[in-house]
């Protein structure tokens, strides 16, 4: 049981990074970015390339990877989102689906199908209350918590954060006060791409990167923002952890002492989660607090 909880915490931290950024984008722009998983993987693969091919130190590789991730997000915003989202909020859904297909092909072409681990080899693991965990996993979870705290501080205690929250809650009123909402839209999209990229790096360090991870990353992030209340960043983060725990318990429990659910069905949990919430609680777990930063 403890192992399942720890696994859920690790997987949840990865999902929370991605869902948190996405919730901001959805709250501000109201658009879907279906290439988010691919954007996360590109940052992860670039970090792998800087570290394993160019042999740069891990810290520098992570920074370089994040810079590439930020540039890719900027490019995606300018080409695939910005020209379309003001015409209709669903147009970027189509353009980013097309982009996800292009990026899938490019990732396969450049990095091929085999797994790429940013830190290959066996990781040093030890037992915590009966559960096996590696020092890198603890570091990653702690870094995620630190990042969330920084994000919380920026959003709630700085002028920049207050402007973002104002744009999330009423963009026209924010613009009427002189806040440059279109510029913030751009920043938020890039920030979301960088957070997703961090998720990609996390994945490449904790496990390994393969092109098939892209779609599950995207769908889990959307499950979290739908369940958390669309645009509610803290709700999305909480639900990312919730989905990760459900995934771990769904396949880790010996149901009624009779059978295990095959691990291949783990990904279906997020999809079932979306369906459940859309049917019974379409405004999300934190109904009435939608569009909240």
């Amino acid at each position: 049981m403890m192992q399942l909880l720890i696994n859920g915490l690790i997987a949840g931290s990865l999902a929370a990074l991605i869902a948190g950024g996405l919730a901001l984008v959805y709250g501000v722009l109201g658009v879907f970015n279906m290439a988010l998983g691919q954007m996360a993987l590109i940052t992860g693969y670039c970090t792998w390339w800087f570290h394993q091919v160019l042999h740069l130190p891990l810290g520098i590789s992570v920074i370089c990877g994040l810079i590439v991730g930020g540039l890719v997000s900027w490019f995606v915003f300018e080409i695939f989102v910005n020209p379309f989202y003001k015409r209709h909020r669903f147009l970027p859904l189509v353009t980013t689906i097309a982009l996800s297909m292009i990026l899938d092909g490019l990732i396969l072409l450049i990095f091929e199908e085999q797994p790429h681990a940013i830190i290959p080899g066996i990781k040093d693991t030890f037992q915590v209350m009966g559960a096996w965990v590696s020092s890198m996993q603890i570091l990653l979870v702690l870094l995620t918590v630190l990042l969330m705290m920084i994000m919380g501080y920026v959003l709630h205690s700085t002028s920049f954060g207050r402007k973002i929250r104002a744009v999330v809650q009423h963009d026209q009123a924010a613009m009427s006060l002189g806040i440059k909402a279109p510029l913030l839209h751009r920043y938020i999209f890039i920030m979301s791409g960088v957070l997703a990229g961090l998720g990609g790096i996390y994945l490449g360090i904790d496990q390994s990167l393969t092109p098939v991870f892209a779609f599950p990353i995207t769908i889990k992030a959307y499950a979290a923002i739908i369940a958390g209340g669309k645009g509610n960043i803290w709700g999305a983060i909480l639900c990312a952890y919730l989905i990760a725990f459900l995934e771990q318990f769904a396949v880790g429990i010996h149901w009624f002492g009779l059978f295990y659910i095959p691990a291949g069905y783990q990904q279906a949990v997020a999809l079932l989660f979306i369906i459940f919430f859309l049917l019974f609680r379409p405004n999300g777990l934190f109904a009435g607090r939608a569009r909240t930063a």
Binding site: K163, A166, H170, A174, L177, G178, K180, A181, R289
Partner: protein
């Protein structure tokens, strides 16, 4: 020179003429009422003046400067403030944050001139009788309190021209008087107000002049008394003068 001048302003969306040939001036310190039936183009005109919709023709000048090609935030920086029909407050931010974010959006020098922003926030809340609710979420306020907060915030954001879109909508009759008082206070502070309202007695009590819109055109303009007595107004609202 008028503070705001609209000349032959038009707006076409998908081949539909929404606004046509709108021309009128707003002098500094005036309160102008904008009335007309639903769908006459009042809020659309506000959206064009504040930059959320781009006009198809004509000109908008503010203090003599052409502003038609400026973005909403650029127009706001030049002194146009907007109060929204559906309450333009940030509901999940505290009252203090609602005012603080407006002050932080000011140009650097203007912000410095204000001095301690916390004191300005406290003073603004005091002005509208909400000093005890500073830490509360703005969404927890009543409609009237939200409206007062929004007007006070716009005032402190250094705006000279106020576009008020139905400021008494969703406000209790008891608080309507308070909203009227704060609008009159804007005038006494030298501010200029353009106000959309369906409540004609309210408009008559505070406005210097009234502009009547119908199907996207200015059909009548004059003092509240002149407009109230005009045959055209009755025809617009009732189809024909019911007294004839």
């Amino acid at each position: 020179m008028p503070l705001l001048s609209l000349k032959d302003l038009s707006l076409t969306i998908d081949e539909h003429q929404i606004l046509q040939g709108i021309s009128f001036d707003v002098e500094e310190g005036q309160i102008i009422g904008l009335i007309g039936p639903n769908g006459s183009g009042k809020t659309t005109l506000f959206n064009v003046i504040s930059g959320f919709l781009k006009s198809s023709g004509g000109s908008i000048t503010l203090g003599g400067e052409e502003i038609s090609n400026l973005s909403p935030s650029q127009r706001a920086k030049r002194g146009i403030g907007r109060v929204f029909q559906n309450f333009g407050i940030f509901r999940d931010m505290t009252l203090e944050e609602n005012i603080l974010v407006a002050l932080e959006a000011l140009p650097r020098q203007q912000r410095k001139d204000l001095g301690d922003l916390k004191e300005v926030v406290a003073g603004t809340l005091d002005m509208v009788g909400l000093s005890d609710a500073g830490k509360k979420k703005a969404g927890s306020l009543s409609g009237g309190q939200m409206r007062l907060l929004e007007i006070a915030r716009t005032l402190k954001a250094g705006k000279d021209l106020f576009l008020l879109d139905e400021p008494t909508a969703g406000v209790s009759p008891k608080m309507t008087g308070q909203v009227a008082d704060i609008i009159k206070e804007l005038k006494s502070n030298g501010k200029t107000v353009l106000i959309i309202e369906h409540d004609l007695p309210f408009i008559a009590s505070i406005c210097d002049e009234v502009v009547v819109l119908d199907v996207g055109k200015v059909v009548l303009q004059g003092t509240p008394a002149e407009v109230k007595e005009s045959k055209e107004l009755k025809e617009i609202y009732f189809g024909a003068d019911p007294t004839t």
